[in-house]
């Protein structure tokens, strides 16, 4: 039997299990030119929350009662397409289904001799590329500068900090548990890490960790933490707006201190981006990340949840910070 996860409701605030619906169907088979895929690993990511909104201006909102899609690694188990053979592992944007057929046009084969399969959902996939392009192309960190990363223990943040160290920055991260704080310092080379949940005054904590101000801020969370960082921003600083997980579940328009006066006073830039902007340079990014990985300049971590039925819960858990590094569901 096949199983598919549909969007049942557009979440109000924090997503719930009831926003998703499982439907059973016959296992499909490949038609001419197609391949049949068996899903192996599913990436769950905060940005999917945005696609669950019914916003006309948003790029491709998910349709109600249609399957959710995300980055997936799947195995070719039947092929009527000469470009693929049985046993190939492929990655691409695929539906939350145990089995699916496709022409394979948008898929890339992965090489597990270079790195384990799941790396292609993380450090060699969208999250690694997001960290790489956001930090290097927008942040342009220079030797001796101070870099702050919010959501530092997340899939993107762990990579950002390490690239910051490669570039010669002092790197400071924020995270929500003491375990994560330790991990940032011990495993990912962060110079300092701050537990925002147990810190009374984040503005002072950032000031103390970054006495010369923050030159580059890679923001994955938005909200109060961002306010605290902006209060310590250095002249000519660059802010990379990569994510705003702290407000993704807000049902009303989130408000906060206006940024215009801060930007003007300090000649600061803020640049929002999505990884799609850099599609033409993906190859360059993957080569650089693969090189650093091989040279042991980069490490990564994953939180792997088992079972197709646990995909919605794994997604929901992102908003409680239950992942450490890339959150992946093994089917």
């Amino acid at each position: 039997m096949n199983s598919t996860i549909l969007l049942n409701n557009r979440p109000e605030g924090r997503p719930q299990e009831s926003d998703f619906k499982f439907v059973e169907s016959e296992k499909p088979s490949a038609k001419d030119g197609e391949i049949l895929l068996e899903t192996k690993y599913v990436s769950v990511d905060p940005y999917l929350r945005g696609r669950m909104r019914d916003q006309k201006s948003y790029i491709e909102p998910f349709e109600l009662n249609e399957p959710i899609t995300s980055h997936i690694i799947a195995e070719v188990i039947e092929t009527k397409n000469d470009n693929f053979k049985e046993g190939d592992l492929v990655t691409g944007m695929l539906a939350w289904k145990k089995y699916q057929t496709t022409s394979g046009e948008q898929l890339n084969k992965i090489d597990t001799d270079l790195a384990p399969a799941t790396a292609y959902l993380g450090i060699l996939g969208m999250t690694g590329l997001t960290a790489y392009f956001g930090l290097t192309k927008i942040g342009e960190p220079k030797d001796g500068e101070t870099l702050v990363v919010s959501g530092a223990a997340g899939a993107v943040g762990t990579v950002v900090g390490q690239i910051g160290k490669i570039k010669g920055c002092k790197v400071i991260g924020t995270a929500g548990t003491d375990d994560k704080v330790e991990l940032l310092k011990d495993k990912f080379g962060y110079d300092e890490a701050i537990n925002y949940k147990t810190t009374d005054n984040m503005k002072e904590a950032i000031a103390s960790a970054a006495p010369n101000g923050v030159d580059v801020y890679f923001d994955n969370v938005g909200g109060d933490i961002t306010d605290a960082v902006l209060a310590n921003i250095a002249r000519n600083a660059r802010v990379i707006n990569c994510g705003a997980i702290s407000v993704y579940n807000d049902t009303e328009t989130p408000t906060g201190p206006r940024v215009e006066p801060i930007l003007i006073k300090n000649s600061v830039s803020m640049q929002g981006f999505t990884i799609g902007n850099y599609q033409s340079q993906f190859k360059e990014g993957m080569q650089q990340l693969g090189k650093w990985l091989k040279e042991d300049k980069l490490t990564y971590s994953e939180t792997i949840v088992e079972g197709f039925d646990n995909i919605p819960q794994a997604f929901i858990d992102l908003f409680d910070g239950k992942n450490q590094g890339k959150m992946i569901v093994k089917v």
Copy 2:
């Protein structure tokens, strides 16, 4: 007799006459190497409000009981410096005094054959350069794009709109009176202009004027108008944060909708700047502005208030939008 205007109090909210103090003294005379200047024209500008705050992080706050300084045009009436002769007109950052002596090091002579003296406080001075560098270097407007300018009838805004037209943009301005709206369209070539004081729903008004979204936003005011423009921002748009006059007088930290989600969703950049960032390129900017002025591609307007004693009130009037174009006090 000489007269000097000192900062008497740091304004709370809207500046008042009592925040300034006039003191009389003997008319000075030039010592060796100095020149004696008689003030002719004084520029009053919104950014001076920021320098009246006691913010350690702000660049050069004014000292209490010291003279305010701004851009001034003055005549050399006595000289003991070979670089200047009597009758020279000079411009530079000078004190709000009827007479003052200086070594002349930071001053530039102006040529009134090229343009009237007051142009050097406006379109050929800081305001023209602010418009030029902000729009061309940060905004990078392209032929066919839509440019929105807030505070469009101000000294900077009137120049921004005209450069936008030279660059081939559709140009939309916001202003606070019907007279200004007419002037923007009739004199400064704006395609559309919106009176924000008589418009109920600015978000809809911008949407209607910019059906394809706003590609470049040159922001002089901040606050509610900026919220309305950001709600209509186009993908890959550039926001130039030049001023935030709407919040300069706020005594508490101004709040508003958070911008991070908008920046991320649409890959938008916001860049605060002050004209000092472009100091090394001032000559290029003045040459280009002078060329456009000579070719009749640029026009400008001034609000000239008479009398040294009216300098504080002219400054205060900026916050009620009583100026149209560059506000200048003729002494």
